[in-house]
Amino acid sequence: MTAPPDIARPTKPQETFVLNVGPQHPAAHGVLRIKMTMDGEFVTRAEPILGYIHRMHEKMGENRTWAQFLPNTGRIDYLSALHYNHAFVGVVERALRIEVPPRAEFIRVITSELNRISSHLVWWSAFLIDLGGMTPLLYAFDDREKLLDLLEGVTGSRLTYCYFRFGGLCNDIDDSFIAGARAFVAQMRPRLKLYRDLVTDNIILRKRLEGIGPISAEMCRKYGATGPVLRGSGVAYDVRRAEPYSVYPELAFEIPTYPAGDSMARYLVHMAEMEQSLRIIAQALDKLPAGPVMGKVPRVLRLPPGDYCFAVEAARGRFMVRVVSDNKDIPYRVKLRTPSFSNLSLYEEASRGMILPDVLALLGSLDLVIPDIDR
């Protein structure tokens, strides 16, 4: 609910107070701080203050070899590590024109989509915690646990994966993974129905999200917001379709969009994306070719001079790696364009004049990962 016009008027400074939400606050997942200037319970200005978990990944990139930087990518957005892996191996493969075997590409897609579902499940449950519903968290984490078990079986880690390699993968999947992934797809569909019954159709949730924090497609464009935020504003933009990479062109899936632009639309986009991811996984498992999982890669990686970009659709939107090489075995510059950064940048404009619970609902619906913003 936005403020009626008489409340949204510019208030005198002595009539407002400053409320610091974060860096330690239950609604600030991680260490985001939002300095809110409040007029009663109406927020006149919400200014995000960043940098509490800044680690300077970009400087680290200039100090280690291409291969050594790869583990870092999994730690930028810890919830969609595989997509970030994918972008970085993608940029090196693009520069060196490395052929990736089809089996490896299919496995990349399968694991990435599993990762996307697990990321969305975390978002969903954390969002519901923001809205005061505790139980969905446990149901989502129950499902996510199965996902993590699957991914741990092939990658060796549960969260900050480092599974993709330049030219392929570090190891092949086995039959138990394929069977497990199929079983997961089969049992996730009824679970999504359960989520719908428990939460999505719930009148309290709908009242809480419908019409809250509307973000227009134009505002998204001006701020460079992507991912579920942009799709929740009715724009069918998905890097998997706009700048096709890997084997996504061979797979059928839809880009779910909802035109309303409110928090409910962003919520519904997330839920629909999980279904689409399941669809992609099922197709990719059916089409999975045999063969090697590692292509021919030069022993010492030296990228030809110049700059290269590679964008992927991470769970939160467009993630782009831009590297500049000066023909050495370490990058000259690594720029990480992270989706949460751009998505949060519209927050100040979008949140103006709303009341505190709605501002926090909007914050949750943007699907932020704080290390992804601060890098």
Binding site: L19, G132, M134, I204, K207, R208, P357, D358
Partner: protein, 333 residues
């Protein structure tokens, strides 16, 4: 025996019993809530202290008691200390008039219902005071919310109670229970002959009770994802523990009232063997529902909460009131 029945001793005894009842209930309802939440979420809940977690409340209380009571600098220390006392005492007072069985009632006064509602309003003030005295922005917002929430929900609740009063014609709680004797179809909840919307009135009563006790999905006062812990943010140790106890004491009170008003109090559902056991069974069934509701729904938005009261509950309860009075006039005059 003669000493026991003298008035001062009886008073003291009933006070001690009520305090023990509230204390035990608060302690074990916390455990029940955590265990229940666990089961709703497919996990076992606390299971380490004692056999299956049965000593968890003891551990909790020991922990809370051993903690330092911090009065932050700059607070209004008198009000800050007074608020926890004020929040617990009304709930205990009100339980004095609740008939646990035909004879087991501390104070059988003929305006019991009135007393419950008048004392019940004090609890709001206590939370407001704690928010005010804490000198904390989150607490102030919470205090403001609690007041407007409670004002908004007092109205439909009283309208519902008036609907009932027109049927019963008395404010004596024991008398109200006696009127519902003989089989569950005589309970007020099922008296659709007097008012076809009786179940709806119960639902309104239940919703208002949740809102008055600041329980999820109406826990605007705490709203931990927005206001940290709301009015209780600055409280430590047993100060916080008392607020916690008061919440459960209020739930017990609210559910007892619902039992008495709608489900025949200590009457048995088959018209046979009335007694304390039935009362407790119904009481805990209702409390289970309260816990069940909390662990199912997200929190309502603050304006949604006020809208629910003013735009939905009050019109419906006014309608039931009119319907009731019309039916009373037509069929019973």
């Amino acid at each position: 025996m003669s000493i026991l029945t003298t008035e001062p001793v009886r008073l003291l005894l009933s006070l001690v019993c009520i305090m023990a009842f509230v204390g035990l209930n608060a302690a074990y309802l916390v455990l029940a809530e955590r265990k229940g939440a666990g089961r709703f979420q497919r996990r076992p809940g606390p299971n380490e202290a004692g056999y299956g977690g049965w000593l968890q409340p003891v551990a909790d209380v020991a922990k809370l008691l051993s903690k330092q009571l911090i009065v932050p600098p700059g607070t209004d220390s008198l009000l800050f200390r007074l608020a926890p006392l004020m929040v617990l005492s009304p709930a205990m007072m009100c339980l004095a008039v609740v008939p646990f069985s035909e004879t087991l009632v501390a104070r059988n006064i003929n305006v019991g219902l009135l007393m419950v509602f008048s004392f019940g309003s004090i609890g709001v003030m206590a939370i407001m005071l704690s928010g005010w005295a804490s000198r904390n922005k989150f607490a102030i917002i919470s205090a403001a919310r609690v007041v407007s929430q409670n004002v908004a929900y007092e109205i439909p609740m009283l309208l519902v109670v008036i609907t009932l009063l027109m049927m019963t014609g008395t404010m004596d709680l024991n008398q109200i229970v006696r009127q519902q004797a003989g089989g569950f179809w005589h309970w007020n909840f099922f008296k659709v002959g007097a008012n076809p919307l009786m179940p709806v009135t119960f639902v309104i009563f239940f919703i208002c009770m949740l809102a008055e006790t600041n329980r999820a999905p109406f826990d605007m006062a705490e709203a931990e994802s927005e206001l940290v812990a709301g009015a209780f943010t600055e409280y430590a140790g047993m100060g916080f523990g008392v607020f916690f106890m008061a919440e459960y004491a209020n739930i017990v009170l609210g559910c007892s009232l619902a039992t008495v008003l709608f489900f025949g109090g200590w009457q048995s559902p088959f018209g046979l063997w009335p007694g304390l056991l039935w009362f407790l069974l119904k009481l805990y069934a209702l409390i289970f529902t309260v816990i069940w509701v909390r662990w199912t729904f997200p929190r309502t938005q603050f304006y949604g909460l006020l809208n629910l009261s003013w735009k939905i509950l009050i019109p419906i309860s006014l309608f039931t009131l009119l319907l009731s009075s019309a039916m009373l006039k037509i069929f019973h005059s």
